[in-house]
Symmetry: C2
Amino acid sequence: MTTLRTPGPTIGVVGGGQLGRMLAEAAAPLGVEVLVLDPTPDCPASPVARDQIVAAFDDEAAIHDLATRADVLTFEIELADQNVLDRVSEETGTPVHPDPATLETIHDKLVQKRELEAAGIPVPPFRAVEDADDIRAAIDDYGAPVMLKARTGGYDGRGNVPVESKADAEDALESVAGPAMVESFVDFEREVSVIAVKGDDEVATFPIGENIHEDEILRETVVPARSSEAVTERAHAVARDVLDVMDGRGVYGIELFETIEGEILLNEIAPRPHNSGHWTIEGAQTSQFEQHVRAVLGWPLGSTTLRSPTVMTNLLGDVGEERPAQLSDIDDILETPAASLHWYGKRDARPLRKLGHVTLSAADEDAAVEDLLETARELESAVTFRS
Amino acid sequence: MTTLRTPGPTIGVVGGGQLGRMLAEAAAPLGVEVLVLDPTPDCPASPVARDQIVAAFDDEAAIHDLATRADVLTFEIELADQNVLDRVSEETGTPVHPDPATLETIHDKLVQKRELEAAGIPVPPFRAVEDADDIRAAIDDYGAPVMLKARTGGYDGRGNVPVESKADAEDALESVAGPAMVESFVDFEREVSVIAVKGDDEVATFPIGENIHEDEILRETVVPARSSEAVTERAHAVARDVLDVMDGRGVYGIELFETIEGEILLNEIAPRPHNSGHWTIEGAQTSQFEQHVRAVLGWPLGSTTLRSPTVMTNLLGDVGEERPAQLSDIDDILETPAASLHWYGKRDARPLRKLGHVTLSAADEDAAVEDLLETARELESAVTFRS
């Protein structure tokens, strides 16, 4: 049986950005303490966490220190180094969840896709890219356009380059500048995601969210997604199959394509709480962050039931160049019933940087998500990033 | 228009117990920072707050330090000293909310009752007590029993002594040991409370809660209270009248008696978030703690709408004597959908000390609060305070 003491169990988190901050916010009511490791002094998670270790994400001595002060280690960024985490865990006896091996699988998009395909997960047709010929061959096989992807280091669409014709192959490859893979371009009806949780001997999935991207950066998540029941069920089934492949406990953000034909194809996996799951803080019985806390501690998972239809909209840095972060005219958000403001405490705004988000939950269960989405967009466009 | 910067506005809180902790938890998503002042090193609020100043509640130099580091001061305990707060505010220019004068009014129960009665708030018949004769006179006037109350320093029923007959007057007065007052004993149908908020130029009241006490300590709050519509309206009207008397922005916990005849009488006021408002964290659109943050900063207040029927049950130290705090067998709570565990991070358990609480929200709007209350009690009785 689970027991709480004071001080409660301590989770050491590699990374102290907004995900670490919201993890600390979710841990606090449970009496669970959070320590973060992040190279930026006074990182977003710092004021909410018990303490911050200021160090690089792969600083082995610092991660060793983190591990000795924690009951379990986890990470909120894919930049965490698998080998370092493995060694530190071995030396200190502090477990790491999810398993660092998961990081390696996910870190390289080609390895990720191969493993998932081998496990029977539906993925878009893809192949490794050694030279421009491979891209041209992909265009022959899949038809143009194709999506060229950097195998490592990309996020928020960075490192993804659509290739419209064979003539563009060389330039595209040069722009990616590193190991690459190429995928068939998916003609999707919508992008959806499932936040899935692997617990000690149980799994849970949240209702699927519909994700609206612009310039490959998430703008809004709408829950429930406007998908058919059959598609929704299929998305959950794929998410559960993905969890079978993943090692170690924790929350996974599983991004999917719903094709024009109503098929579900896997897009990408994040082995951590995910931007498209922020709606769960107000919209679900248990948030993705509390689920991650429960999962990594080996506690029973919570209910993933939707409380009411919910829309999340990101507050992205709407600035021409880097400047101190400032959000003005937040009154509309504060005055809208069921709107919840989240500000991440980042010092500087940069173009399209994620600085916060707003969640809007419906007052009643039958509210139309279209209306919520419209209101959320009005709230997002009412704020400004200067005084 | 309201603007957020990083670091956000900072609230300095005198007191760092569970109320300060939950205030810090509510402030974090808004990008608002919290500093607490508390004499207990590593007090409950400490791991969640930006920083703690370890000092006595009336340490003027330390409160001066707190004020210079904060944009606004508030308090989560009535022990804060009005004169110290006034002087510090004068010297530093940092405002204090609610107004420290409110503390003086509330600190002395006789002064409190006189002011409220003068403002037309319905209160039980009461009188000052100079000697045992005053108690006996009260018994003549109101009938036995009467309630003898210490004018200052009492909370959770401490300092309240029922006097059954004139023969007990001397002993009762001795047990109170200090300035006292006496009230007519109210034959109530139920005890209810209204969490009320005074903003910059607006007020808000939460749905009324029904409070179940045992040994004068709150055990459970049930929302909505099982009062008639007329009584509910009357309770809200009285709460708004009370806010008119109070100076300064913030949350007030207003405890009321609903008499057998369906009248509302004021019992006591706390000029701060209140135990009987903890249900708002999950049960209302905006929690009492977020409302206090908004109010003291002069931000617009949030919606007080009930999300679904909710029951809160306290986790009180069920120990024979002081020992390290430990809560075992929490699995039933963690596994119950819509049950939320709050553990305050207190180092030591003492008999009946408030160590945490559990909130249970209904899955649908029409759920019977009786069923919720039964489940909440089962959850509360399943945990143990030893391994």
